[in-house]
């Protein structure tokens, strides 16, 4: 199966084009196989975005929000192509026209997980890169995942962790980032969630709390290239306002919204549809949340 027929190749450790940031880490990969157009500017400002595979609605919401703004500022998003936060990070970056690097836990000709094939194609079509230190047709094995994480951390100036459980792969990436003397950012989450345990622990250990995209963008010392703050000019009628305020607090199901506002499902549904069409709110697994 050939889904990409463009440029691909191999960059060895001695090649002048080899990313400097990755070269500086101990035990840097001997070679990088890649697909896509190798553009050295891609490696200038890289942020690793990692997190749990079992992304919650909150995780999705935060990833969409932070990554879209960070990517709009011209920062390359590096991640591991896994489903969950990783995949969402790539996707949110592509949604705002940003560039992203996927570091595969297998050869670059393999797509792991397989059903991410559309994401794989989109990354390449949007001037992104698929890279791996493993031979192109290698399938993924357990020991390769930590190696992959090392590359993700090595390529980036900093690592942003969104939702991580205890003893998760995301914590391995965070630890490596610290070991490489790079910055670790962590997004706080509700303490009731098991997916906040990892991030809370990171914050305790001195990772920087991220509450808005600027926290990360400022670290990169670059000016925002384009302002992508989505301001909608619409005539907020009252019900829209109430729904918006409720959803700003937490993602909710339609039934709960109906109970809280005292409006019928018919009214709530049609208000929500209009807000969705305008791109103000989104839904996942039956819950609605503010973009």
């Amino acid at each position: 199966m050939e889904i990409y027929s463009g440029e691909n190749g191999i960059i060895t450790l001695n090649d002048p084009r080899y990313p400097k940031s990755l070269k500086s880490i101990p035990d840097a990969p001997e070679q990088l196989y890649y697909k896509g157009t190798w553009d050295e500017s891609l490696f200038e400002n890289c942020l690793a975005v990692v997190g749990s595979r079992r992304m919650t609605t909150y995780g999705k919401q935060i990833t969409e929000k932070l990554v879209s703004q960070i990517a709009s500022a011209g920062i390359t998003i590096v991640s591991g192509f896994m489903y969950g936060i990783d995949g969402q990070a790539h996707q949110s970056c592509l949604d705002v026209g940003g560039r992203t690097i996927a570091v595969m836990p297998c050869g670059i000709n393999k797509i792991c997980p397989q059903y991410h094939d559309i994401l794989y194609r989109d990354i390449l079509e949007n001037n992104g890169l698929i890279i791996s230190e493993f031979p192109p047709d290698q399938t993924s094995l357990y020991w390769m995942f930590p190696r992959r994480n090392r590359t993700v951390a090595g390529l980036s100036k900093a690592t942003l962790v969104i939702e991580a459980g205890e003893k998760s792969g995301s914590l391995i990436t965070a630890d490596l980032t610290k070991k490489f003397n790079k910055k670790v950012f962590a997004v706080p989450g509700p303490l009731t969630s098991i997916l906040s345990k990892g991030t809370s622990q990171l914050i305790k250990e001195g990772a920087e709390i991220v509450t808005c995209a600027e926290d990360v963008i400022n670290y990169f010392k670059i000016k925002k290239i384009k302002n992508n703050n989505l301001n909608f000019n619409f005539n907020k009628n009252k019900l829209d306002d109430i729904i918006f305020q409720e959803l700003q607090r937490e993602p909710l199901e339609m039934d709960i919204l109906s109970r809280k506002t005292g409006k019928s499902i018919a009214e709530i549904s049609s208000a929500i549809s209009m807000m969705q069409i305008k791109g103000i709110i989104r839904s996942e697994y039956g819950k609605y949340y503010v973009c």
Binding site: P113, S258, A266, E267, S269, S273, Q276
Partner: protein, 513 residues
């Protein structure tokens, strides 16, 4: 050979093949010459051949002499396979007419199964027989007493209830008269519904979707964790469906009569059927079949609800069978011996878990399925099937705390009877609208009907166009949204479809993929 030795008579009866009825001549010959034997010819099946023993014993037990002569019975036309026990009565009466010397008039149809003691038993298909009698101009039909009310649904045919052999013989000998039954239309009793809508707490969106489904005849799918109330909601659905109209009721009763599902002394069925087959059902069980094709669950659910619980657990090969009937509202079963068409216009109600463990949407319990398992689970239902389901809702688990505080408060919602009255009002609007078209409900609208009856203002069309691009709607989904919006407008007794109707309809599109 003298003419007295030839004893021959022809009695009229009929057989049902699917929902069609074929006239059968029962020819009986009793010859004085030859050894005493009793033969039935004309492609009898096992149950027909066995009727020899029933007839012989029933006659003897009715204290009538059984002739020790050569008896030959032919069921004509001889090339149509005969099945069932309904020929017992015509054969026995024909034989006795030769022995006791009475006449059965040409305009009579006889039909019924004998018991060994001479009684006549409830036999399936009596309604179809009387419809046939009316069509072909037979004046009188003799049917088992317990099936008589069912047969008498048809006006213009005299239905004689037969209790036992002695009684019918006495009638023909002129000793006394059997009085034709007068059709007793049983009062429409609301079948006891398992759940009332007001018993279901929370689930406002799902209840609203159920109301729309009932009003417009839309197929309906619920996805939710175990214990969220999907099954309860589906079982409450019959309580909000309107009663069948005369024409629909006759269609349904015919199917139930043909399949032997009408109880003794039963009458026409006015309540919508509700069928709830288990997911281990076979292909024939679902769509019908057999060498003499019987209706399956989809036909028994005609003009009612087919509820498939645990939708993902049904084998894919079985679910794919639903595709054509959902489109066409009928199914033709072709077998070597017969080709039968059964109607199957039902509301499909499906319920499914979001993932194999069931807790993907659960607020408290965490799901233990991997992404791949979830994908594979959801993939079990094919796109074409999902595409034929109009309303999709996610049914969240209701928090026990929420429940206790809301008892008595508004979240309980309307009782079924109130919802039903709204549904009936919406159906009446639809009846008026489709009086010239051969359809009943909005869900049956084809593109031509949509063009004719669903005028969209410029503003509505603009919103729809935006939705198509924002939500990636397919062409089929686009029309589905319009159909649902039409039903929502009908429920609100609105003449034209406005923006809020369309906007609400958009919330019921499938969320995945």
């Amino acid at each position: 050979m003298s003419t007295e030795n030839i004893m021959f008579v022809k009695i009229k009866s009929a057989t049902n093949l699917g929902l069609d009825t074929i006239g059968i001549d029962v020819e009986i010959n009793v010859a004085n010459r030859g050894l005493p034997v009793f033969d039935i010819v004309g492609l009898p099946s096992k149950s027909v051949s066995e009727s020899k023993e029933r007839i012989k014993t029933a006659i003897i037990n009715s204290k009538i002499d059984f002739p020790t002569k050569r008896i030959t019975i032919n069921l004509a036309p001889a090339d149509v396979p005969k099945e069932g026990s309904c020929y017992d009565l015509p054969m026995a009466v024909g034989l006795l007419s030769l022995m006791l010397g009475f006449n059965v008039s040409e305009d009579s149809l006889l039909f019924g199964e004998l018991s060994l003691d001479g009684k006549v038993r409830h036999t399936r298909g009596a309604l179809l027989l009387s419809l046939f009698a009316k069509e072909k101009g037979y004046k009188k039909i003799f049917v088992p007493k317990e099936s008589a009310n069912e047969a008498a649904i048809v006006q213009g045919v005299e239905v004689y209830p037969v209790e036992d052999l002695r009684q019918i013989v006495g009638h023909f000998l002129g000793k006394f008269k059997i009085v034709p039954v007068i059709y007793k239309r049983q009062p429409i009793i609301d079948k006891k519904v398992d759940f009332d809508m007001k018993e279901i707490l929370g689930q406002e969106q799902a209840k609203r979707a159920a109301e729309i489904a009932a009003a417009g005849g839309h197929n309906f799918m619920m996805v939710g964790s175990p214990g969220s109330g999907k099954t309860m909601l589906a079982k409450a659905l019959p309580g909000i469906l309107p009663f069948l109209q005369e024409k629909e009721a006759l269609e349904v009763t015919k199917i139930y009569s043909a399949s032997g599902n009408i109880p003794p002394n039963g009458s026409i069925i006015f309540t919508s059927p509700f069928r709830n087959p288990h997911h281990t059902i076979s292909q024939v069980g679902l769509v019908g079949g057999g060498s003499k094709p019987q209706p399956g669950e989809i036909s028994l659910a005609h003009r009612g609800v087919l509820f498939l619980d645990e939708f993902n657990e049904f084998p894919r090969s079985i679910l794919e069978l639903l595709r054509q009937p959902i489109e066409d509202g009928k199914l033709t079963i072709s077998r070597s011996q017969a080709r039968v068409e059964y109607p199957a216009r039902f509301i499909l109600v499906a319920s499914a878990n979001p993932c194999p463990c069931g807790y993907l949407l659960h607020p408290k319990k965490s799901c233990v399925c991997s992404e791949r398992e979830i994908k594979n689970y959801q993939k079990r239902i094919s796109g074409p099937i999902l595409d034929r389901i109009d309303l999709h809702v996610e049914v969240p688990v209701v928090d026990a705390n929420d429940l206790s505080c809301s008892v008595g408060a508004s979240p309980c919602g309307c009782p079924s009877s109130v919802v039903r009255s709204r549904v009936i009002a919406a159906r009446e609007i639809q009846n008026k609208r489709f009086s010239e078209d051969n359809i009943f409900v909005n869900a049956e609208m084809r593109n031509e009907h949509i063009k004719k009856y669903c005028f969209l203002s410029q503003e509505v069309e603009r919103i729809l166009k935006q939705a198509v691009s924002n939500f990636n709607l397919s062409a089929r989904s686009y029309f589905k949204v319009i159909k649902i919006a039409r039903t929502i407008a009908d429920l609100g007794e609105a003449e034209s479809i406005n923006v809020s109707h369309v906007a609400e309809a958009l919330q019921y599109r499938p969320k995945q993929a």
